[in-house]
């Protein structure tokens, strides 16, 4: 006797449909699972045997072989339990219809179904591979139902699943995810932040162009609060983007913290004691997306940036350049999206009081140089905006709040600026592509290897502009060009600093609705370059 059931394996965000084949042969009773499996799948034998028995079915007392095909794909985790159990039951003669149906879930010994991680990306890939129906554990139903045109059934247990599939007691399809459901908003409303006039403007610019931001300020000046406020300024994700973000969170089994249908960009703030695998992804055993992928399409906030070990910061280089991270592992490599906006916060010096108006910095020169060199190099090159955040005593300074702008108009400006730049940058990119007939490296890198997830579009924000495109997008006025050459002379800007200033100027002009970068935009951008002239 021979029977199959369909399940799914994951490589990064790409799902690969896995056929679970079961064969019963004459011989001494035994149960073997083959097909490049890990420990968890070998242990499935005991779970499946007990669950089948406790569900009231008979476990075949003959020579039983289960193969997970294709056998060359490495498989890990407990999501195959349900498929193995169903394949075994079909093989033993039970009449279960599994046409166009895939099943996912871990079995408990009492035959109830336990949730597994990565259901959303698996559901997406299965749908793309032609699967029409999917059975998942109850707790995974909401995320699976996010996938369009896929009938999702939430089964509480193995017998419920069996009776649903053989038609004796069908279960209702799970309702699609609710787009209105938003995560409990832990964001900080910009309007509630007092003072910090320049820092708030920098937040607006960072949100407006997707720029990475570095805040320098003494301890307790409100850097964390400002970073959260930035997340609240970012425009809503598109449903597609949200789905991609939720898929990553699903891989980490973290969707209980973030409803899968929410359109708000994520905010992640890992502590500096985090491991490399925790930050960028990977790890031994299961490959897991790291914090940078969880923060994709949102904000990655690194407080005390200088306290992060240097190798960790260096590891951020690839994701900052390519908007994705490739984690090499023994059995091949996986690629996760990592299109985050980096917000760093650091004390200006080890003691924290360099540049403070009232307190004196006690740091030695050597100490200071060593400290500041920590944020130099590749990461610093990708940070367009640097803004000092002074300690506030504004409750005294501002009896009225005329200068504290409410969040709504800022958010509107950000939204409008994003719309402008995406339109323009996309047009420019298309024109450039037809001209050169080449694809941009950054976009090419976004196509995941397995090909089962659709290639993600570049976000076309100003922060991604570079080289020819940047100049074409800026189109500076004659006065701005003059100012630029003066600035180049006086401030001795490096080529990279030059580009950073131009990118920021482009966003400032977008915020005020200008087609060309003018003198005022450029002048303001120069103030955020973060290099003090000697």
């Amino acid at each position: 006797m021979f029977a199959t059931a369909l399940s799914c394996a994951l490589q990064g965000l790409a799902g690969i449909p896995i056929t679970v084949e079961a064969d019963i042969a004459a011989g001494l009773p035994g149960f073997t699972i083959v097909g490049l499996t890990d420990r968890a799948i070998q242990e499935a034998r005991e779970r499946v045997r007990a669950a089948v028995r406790n569900a009231g079915f008979e476990f075949p007392a003959r020579r039983l072989t289960v193969n997970l095909a294709p056998a060359e794909v490495p498989k890990e985790g407990t999501a195959y339990d349900l498929a193995i159990a169903l394949a075994v039951l079909r093989c033993a003669g039970r009449d279960i219809s599994l046409r166009d149906t895939a099943v996912l879930g871990e079995l408990a010994l009492d035959a109830t179904l336990r949730p597994v991680t990565g259901v959303l990306p698996m559901a997406r890939s299965l749908r793309a591979a032609g699967v029409r129906r999917l059975v998942v554990p109850l707790a995974n139903a909401a995320e699976a139902a996010m996938v369009e045109d896929l009938e999702v059934v939430a089964a509480p247990s193995l017998p419920a699943c069996v009776y649903h599939l053989d038609g004796s007691r069908p279960l209702p399809p799970a309702p699609p995810g609710d787009a209105e459901a938003t995560a409990e908003d832990d964001g900080v409303d910009l309007g509630s932040v007092r003072g910090h006039i320049h820092a708030k403007r920098a937040l607006e610019i960072a949100a407006g162009g997707g720029h990475n931001l570095l805040m320098l300020g003494p301890p307790g000046s409100g850097k964390t609060m400002l970073a959260r406020a930035l997340a609240s300024l970012l425009p809503d994700l598109t449903p597609d983007e949200s789905l991609e973000v939720s898929a990553i969170w699903s891989l980490r089994g973290a969707l209980h913290e973030r409803p899968p249908a929410t359109l708000r960009p994520p905010f992640r703030a890992p502590h500096h004691s985090i491991s490399r695998a925790g930050l960028v992804g990977g790890g031994s055993g299961y490959a897991q997306p790291g914090e940078i992928s969880l923060a994709s399409r949102g904000v990655l906030f690194l407080d005390e940036l200088c306290e992060f070990p240097r190798p960790l910061l260096e590891a951020l280089r690839q994701p900052l350049e390519e908007r994705s991270i490739t984690v090499g592992r023994a059995r091949g490599s996986v690629t996760y999206p990592a299109a985050f906006t980096l917000v760093g916060a650091a004390n200006p010096c080890p003691c924290g009081y360099l540049g403070d108006e009232t307190r004196r910095c006690h740091c030695g020169l050597r100490e200071l140089q060593r400290y500041q060199s920590r944020v130099s190099g590749p990461v610093r090159d990708r940070i367009d905006l640097v803004v000092p955040v002074p300690r506030q005593s504004y409750d005294v300074l501002f009896p009225d709040r005329a200068l504290d702008e409410p969040a709504e108009p800022v958010r509107n400006r950000v939204g409008a600026a994003r719309a402008r730049q995406v339109q323009r940058n996309r047009d420019l990119l298309d024109r450039e592509r037809t001209r050169t007939g080449r694809r941009r490296r950054r976009t090419a890198a976004l196509v995941t290897t397995a090909g089962t997830t659709p290639p993600r579009p570049s976000s076309h924000v100003n922060a991604d502009l570079d080289g020819v495109l940047l100049l074409a997008a800026c189109d500076p006025t004659p006065a701005a060009t003059r100012l630029l050459s003066i600035a180049g002379d006086r401030l001795q800007l490096s080529a990279r600093a030059f580009h950073r200033v131009l990118r920021v100027a482009r966003t400032i002009a977008d915020l005020s609705g200008n087609d060309r970068v003018d003198e005022a935009s450029l002048g303001e951008a120069l103030r955020y370059r973060g290099e003090t002239a000697r």
């Binding site: 003072g195 910090h196 006039i197 320049h198 708030k200 403007r201 320098l216 300020g217 200006p348 010096c349 360099l354 540049g355 403070d356 108006e357 004196r360 030695g364 020169l365 803004v387 000092p388 002074p390 300074l397 501002f398 005329a402 200068l403 100012l483 003066i486 600035a487 006086r490 401030l491 001795q492 400032i508 005020s512 003198e519 005022a520 935009s521 450029l522 002048g523 303001e524 120069l526 103030r527 955020y528 003090t532 002239a533």
Partner: protein
């Protein structure tokens, strides 16, 4: 690029500065890079490595004024005040002498490589240590006695209580040189050393022309009396009549009104732009753009912490044009 040959001058040979004989422990030899050590009265300008914005400005302008009057500026090429004094001298095209505490072929601090090259081209670099000697903490006090000996007068611009510049001042006093100190606020411990020097009998230096108190400098400095004040002139609003004879005021008057009003709020003490925005009711965008304009024109300088402070733009015609530092050097 090459910096020319390193010359070795044994004690008493041609080019040996006779003032070194005043030392109890005169060095046996000198190594010189660049021109010969200029003869005649020289002024040493020294101070702390970790200096305030104001201190650096004072050092730079002192250096510039002295060099413009043809008086060689001697200092230690250290970070902070020393470097600023050399830079000021070089900017006005005058002679300057850097005395090192390491071998002539060693650049310390390494970040002053450009400055070292400029000094070697426009002045001279001197040391008593043989080539290849690495810098060590105990070599700097030794070096300080040479700075003191080479100078006719010594100005300490900014020094805390424990600054190495105080050891230079002690050497100078022992050698009978005139010691000047730029006083600072009694609240600031960065001026504690200089203030104590004043209390102990050093001559307070409020403007470059105060150095005319030294007899042999009076003639050379006669030309700048009353002109080279160190204090930053109070900024004027646009439209205010410029005082005659002070060309610094003209620049402010040529600014657009908004920039001039902004400049009026910025003094020598660093201030945060948020305060300016609050005081002037300017949007942060507008304020940042105007500040950038002022910064590029040289009226304002950006400091750590995003603070800004008043700066005095280079005065066209007052000295020779500042040399564009070569990045390709070294």
């Amino acid at each position: 690029m090459t910096l020319g040959p390193i010359r070795h001058i044994p004690r008493g040979a041609t080019g040996w500065p006779p003032e070194l004989e005043h030392l109890e422990l005169s060095p046996p030899e000198l190594w010189v890079l660049g021109d010969a050590i200029p003869a005649g009265p020289r002024v040493a300008v020294v101070g702390a490595r970790v200096a305030t914005h104001g201190g650096l400005q004072i050092a730079r302008r002192l250096g510039a004024d002295l060099a413009a009057a043809g008086i060689p500026v001697v200092s230690g090429m250290a970070l902070g005040i020393d470097g600023a004094a050399h830079e000021g001298a070089l900017d006005s095209g005058g002679p300057t002498v850097a005395v090192l505490g390491c071998g002539i072929d060693v650049c310390y601090p390494p970040s002053h490589r450009d400055l070292r090259d400029r000094i070697a081209r426009g002045g001279c670099v001197v040391t008593e240590e043989p080539p290849g000697t690495v810098p060590a903490p105990w070599r700097f006090p030794r070096r300080n006695r040479i700075i003191a000996a080479l100078a006719t007068a010594l100005v300490v611009v900014e020094a805390s209580d424990r600054s190495g510049a105080l050891s230079t001042a002690r050497h100078a006093a022992d050698l009978g040189r005139d010691v000047f100190a730029v006083p600072g606020s009694v609240l600031s411990d960065r001026s504690a050393g200089t203030n104590r020097l004043v209390r102990d009998g050093a001559i307070p230096l409020l403007e470059t022309a105060d150095l005319t108190a030294v007899g042999c400098l009076a003639e050379a400095l006669e030309g700048i009396r009353g002109r080279a004040r160190l204090a930053i002139p109070p900024p004027t609003f646009a439209g205010a009549p410029a005082r005659r004879g002070d060309r610094r005021h003209h620049a402010a008057n040529e600014l657009p009104q908004e920039q001039a009003a902004l400049l009026a709020r910025i003094g020598a003490d660093p201030v945060h732009p948020d305060r300016l925005a609050a005081a002037l009711r300017l949007s942060p965008a507008r304020l940042a753009a105007q500040l950038a304009g002022l910064e590029l024109a040289g009226h304002v300088r950006s400091l750590p912490g995003g603070l800004v402070a008043r700066d005095v733009p280079p005065q066209p015609g007052a000295h020779t044009a500042p040399a564009v530092p070569s990045r390709a050097g070294g």
